[in-house]
Amino acid sequence: MSEIQHYLAPDHLDEALKAMADGDVTVLCGGTDLALQTESGLRKYANTLINIRRIDGLSEIDEEDGKIRIGALTTVTDIKENQVINELAPVLVAAADQFASDQIRNAASLGGNICNASPAGDMIIPLLVLDAVVELACWQDGGVQTRLVALNEFFTAPGKTVKRDHELLTAIIFDKPAADFVARFRKSGPRPALEISMVSVGIGGNLENGVFHNVRVALGAVAPTPLRARHVEAALEGKSLDAENIKAAVASAGEDATPIDDVRGSAWYRDHLVRVFIEEVLNDVLEQRN
């Protein structure tokens, strides 16, 4: 039995944020995570249940001023099929394509996946590679206030973020990648679509004359939160992408990844896969270039 006293499904952002002002609120979007977590008892409903699915203006994907802005309500299917994303950030499409099933993709929102903050967060990995920021909005001083948080600073622990209870994640923004930006996403499992990732790896950077700059390496499910693998990045940054440097990058993965044993897999296997995937993905980039 829920203790919900109020339910609303506002059409406008300010209406939603006003209702959320006291922070005693459960946000319903696609419902794919909320349904599971409340049924299992992991999460209890707050006083107010707010359905944000109908809020105007949060489902668009725009390219403006050298930035790509994805509304938080955009579904994983929307991302998979969006022309702008396919052209400019195909690594996001790769993750979307391997995200659960059609039925889940059609309902799950990007904002929801980020706020759920699973250590595995499939859509989060490519966004880290794209060095994205999230826009958080709240009602303050009689108006809508927003702030930006870098995605790699957004997560604090499994399921926990810096977003406050009265805030809503409204958009994900990243710089339009340059023409020489290459990126890859690789996820574990023979049936990637129906797995909560055992391991996922995202790598991206600008490849100019065989030298890798601005390298971003993101790992999922091998730490309490999705993270940027700083040691692996350092092993690649500013260096030419060749067999020796790839080997060094793989070797450094152990300093970033701290996987655990759990019901899905052992720490050994996760660590093993991280190395396999990093090597595989970098070799793929190398091969494509040649």
């Binding site: 499992g189 023979p190 897999g265 296997y269 396999v276």
Partner: protein, 775 residues
């Protein structure tokens, strides 16, 4: 007779071997079919069970007062309401427990008006437990001083089976090669899409009606009755459409008498239905086993002996699981020509979930061992595996050491067909050489076969099936059969057979098999027996009806019955097909006659087989059959993923009756077997299931299904209907070792323990590489 008889003759056609649609498919496709899970009865209450959630404990106290007071709650029951009402094969179980012996043990049950109320009531029940040391392996269970799980089963010993034939020591001495390995096969579960569900209602004469997913309605009464303290004859079993069974419904499980106890207490129908999480934790599993197997042969490739020492994890209670040695020994003694056998199996009680019956029933586990040892010996002999298999393959007319009479045996045909279709010998050699070379992806091809009952299995006092058939005044046929439809398609097979015999359209045949008050006895759906036995029963009944009809026709039209036939809804002249009289007209004539005659016939078909005796030496099935699988895989040596590219199956089916249905059974059986060997795994930690959901218990999904190439070898079984043999378990039995052998071919690594998950394969490959690098 004013009716003008048209001149159009009707040719003789046959449905046997054709593709026949399943009669209930349209309703299932439109969502019209009401499964037991969908049923709502007037005044029905919802029953929910409080599971212990711990593996081994004394129940110190239960306080149900708060639960009882909750609005909407009509009954709360605990162990005292089932005290003394022992049920189960060895009477070691009760519906509501006095002691906790496994995680899902049923400690209390509630009946309420809504599901929410029932769930809330469960939360209000206060139970005090005293945890006891848990036993989580049979090895621990039989140690000296181990805690006793049941007071009356000393040393935690459950069932024991053995079979010996010939001089083992002499055979060992005569062997040039012996494969000697310990195989460990694991817990998996059926994952029926329709979760377990029962609805019970007592009438005011004290008779119970139970709507059940049972696949053995008659003996089910016998097994359920003691849990309620009533007479089996006072139980009516109704079988609505169900969402799968695969053997899981071959015994009575606690949730069923619980539904009945709640119904009796409240005076209202009570429905108990599992959530998926409950289903994973509480369903009977496939029986896990530790199999120490040894197979010997001489230098020229002749098998000399096979011995198996089997340790079974009985789990907390005894259901079908620990009885699988009865079948395991048949595989041990009958899989290929083996002159000397030594089989021994012991089940030991533990606090793990307990096993029931699951498609393949012990043969899956045993063939995992026998078929891999065949592969190992072929390698030691440096012999083409096909030649080694052919050398030891039985021929028609042979008898196994347990007296299984292989009247029609097509094992060699199956082997040759599969090998040729896949170019097995060449690829096997090629991939063997390739595995030592560098490269991430390795291809492998693996061969396995097995033998299984195909004409029933007389493990009970009767292996028969009753049929009642009537043909009404509209020439519509009703077949009342004891055989249960669990999704496997016996409805299509019986319709086909009856249509064939009586020359009526398929759509004019209907099957009634879901009310134990109406339908005659059948021992149940198991042992791949239903097409064979219910099919024979239906055929015999239809033939009786046919004889009666043609005799009557002959009397009316003056043509000898031997010159008449039934085709397309008409009585016709056999030779030329000329229509003589419309069948429904004839039937009305028979009925509305001074000496009225209705067509209502009965049959009880007992197959020509011998009972399984205590010595296990008997021809316990009316037929046996074989299947050969050749699996082709690609192993990703980095991630350990095994991709199954293709499975070729050659199976002796005797005769194809419903081609489409038979294909579906083989395809589905292979899928279940693939899950078993590659990805399904119940992860138990101290008796507690860690992965009770589809997210973490990995069944085969559509993208993983390989290309299948199916060959049906028709050995024309003398006893089977139109020559058919039972078929549905072999595909699950044979695929697992075929995959294991293919992975060996690709990697040089033997996996004696199932499943071959990516992690396990990757780790084994990595360790092998590490070992190689050290040298």
């Amino acid at each position: 007779m004013d009716q003008k008889v048209t001149a159009a003759a009707i040719e003789k056609t046959s449905l046997i071997g054709q593709r026949v649609k399943k009669p209930d498919a349209p309703d299932k496709a439109t969502g019209k079919t009401r499964y037991i899970n969908d049923m709502v009865l007037p005044q029905m209450l919802i029953g929910k069970i409080l599971h212990a959630g711990r593996p081994h404990a004394e129940i110190v106290s239960i306080d149900v007062r708060a639960a009882e007071k909750l609005p909407g709650v009509h009954a709360v029951l605990t162990g005292k309401d089932a005290a003394g009402l022992k049920f189960g094969f060895v009477r070691d179980n009760v519906a509501l427990k006095d002691k906790v012996r496994c995680e899902h043990d049923e400690v209390a049950a509630v009946a309420a008006e809504t599901e929410e109320q029932a769930e809330q009531a469960l939360r209000l029940i206060k139970v005090k437990y005293k945890d006891l040391p848990g036993i989580f392996s049979p090895e621990d269970g039989r140690k000296e001083g181990a805690a006793l799980i049941h007071d009356n089963f000393p040393e935690n010993k459950s069932l024991h089976f053995e079979f010996k034939h010939g001089d083992l020591a002499a055979a060992e001495a005569a062997s040039d090669f012996i494969a000697d390995n310990v195989f460990k096969v694991h817990h998996v579960t059926h994952c029926c899409m329709g979760t377990s569900c029962a609805i019970a209602d007592f009438d005011n004469n004290g008779k119970l009606t139970i709507w059940s997913q049972t696949q053995y309605p008659y003996n089910y009464k016998m097994d359920l009755a003691p849990a309620l303290g009533i007479h089996p004859g006072d139980i009516k079993v109704i079988q609505p459409p169900i969402g799968g069974a695969f053997g899981s419904k071959l015994d009575a499980y606690p949730y069923e008498p619980i539904a009945a106890l709640l119904a009796r207490k409240t005076g209202r129908p009570v429905k108990v239905m599992y959530t998926r999480e409950e289903e994973f934790k509480s369903s009977p599993t496939r029986q896990p086993a530790v199999i120490h197997m040894r197979t010997g042969c001489t230098r020229d490739g002749t098998l000399t002996f096979r011995s198996a020492d089997v340790l079974l994890d009985n789990g907390a209670y005894t259901s079908w699981g620990p009885t699988i040695p009865v079948v395991m020994m048949r595989t041990t003694s009958g899989h290929y020509r083996v002159p000397v056998i030594d089989f021994n199996a012991q089940a030991i009680y533990t606090n793990n979930p307990y096993a029931g019956s699951f498609r393949g029933y012990g043969n899956v586990q045993t063939t995992y061992a026998t078929a891999q040892q065949m592969d190992m010996l072929a390698e030691q002999l440096d012999m083409d595996p096909i030649d080694f298999h052919l050398k030891n393959a039985q021929k028609s007319g042979e008898t196994t050491p347990q007296k299984s009479f292989l009247r029609e045996c097509a094992l060699d045909d199956c082997l040759k067909t599969a090998a040729e279709a896949t170019d097995y010998t060449k690829k096997h050699k090629q991939y063997s050489f390739a595995r030592e070379q560098a490269g991430r992806y390795k291809k492998g091809i693996g061969l396995a076969s097995s033998i299984h009952n195909a004409g029933g299995a007389k493990i009970h006092k009767s292996d028969g099936c009753g049929t009642i058939l009537k043909v009404d005044d509209y020439a519509r046929v009703t077949v009342i059969t004891g055989a249960s439809e669990i999704g496997q398609g016996i409805d299509a097979v019986i319709s086909l057979i009856v249509s064939e015999e009586l020359g009526v359209p398929l759509e004019h045949v209907s099957i009634v098999n879901n009310d134990s008050d109406i339908a005659p006895w059948d021992v149940g759906v198991h042992a791949s027996r239903t097409t064979f036995i219910a099919g024979n029963g239906a055929r015999r009944a239809a033939q009786q009806a046919r004889t009666q009809i043609l005799k009557a026709a002959s009397g009316f039209v003056g043509i000898p019955a031997t010159e008449l036939d039934l085709r397309g809804g008409f009585v016709v002249q056999e030779q030329c097909g000329t229509r003589v009289i419309k069948l429904e007209k004839l039937l009305r004539q028979m009925h509305f006659h001074p000496k009225p005659e209705l067509v209502m016939v009965t049959d009880y078909y007992e197959p020509n087989s011998e009972p399984e005796g205590a010595d296990h030496i008997s021809d316990h099935s009316a037929a046996y059959s074989h299947a050969v699988h050749i699996a082709e895989v690609t192993v990703d040596t980095y991630t350990g993923e095994v991709k199954v590219d293709k499975v070729t199956s050659a199976q002796d089916v005797g005769r194809v009756i419903n081609r489409m249905g038979l294909e579906g059974q083989i395809e589905g059986g292979i899928a279940i077997g693939l899950g078993y060997v590659l990805s399904e795994e119940m992860k138990l930690e101290n008796g507690m299931l860690q992965n009770p959901c589809f997210r973490d218990y990995k069944v085969i999904t559509a993208p993983e299904m390989p290309e299948l190439d199916l060959y049906f070898i028709e050995s024309d079984c003398a006893e089977g209907p139109y020559g058919a043999k039972g078929a549905s378990e072999l595909p699950t039995i044979v695929i697992a070792p075929a995959i294991a052998n293919a992975v060996y071919n690709a990697t040089g690594i033997r996996f004696l323990d199932s499943p071959l998950t990516p992690e396990k394969v990757a780790q084994a490959i990595w360790e092998k590489q590490q070992a190689a690098e050290r040298h």
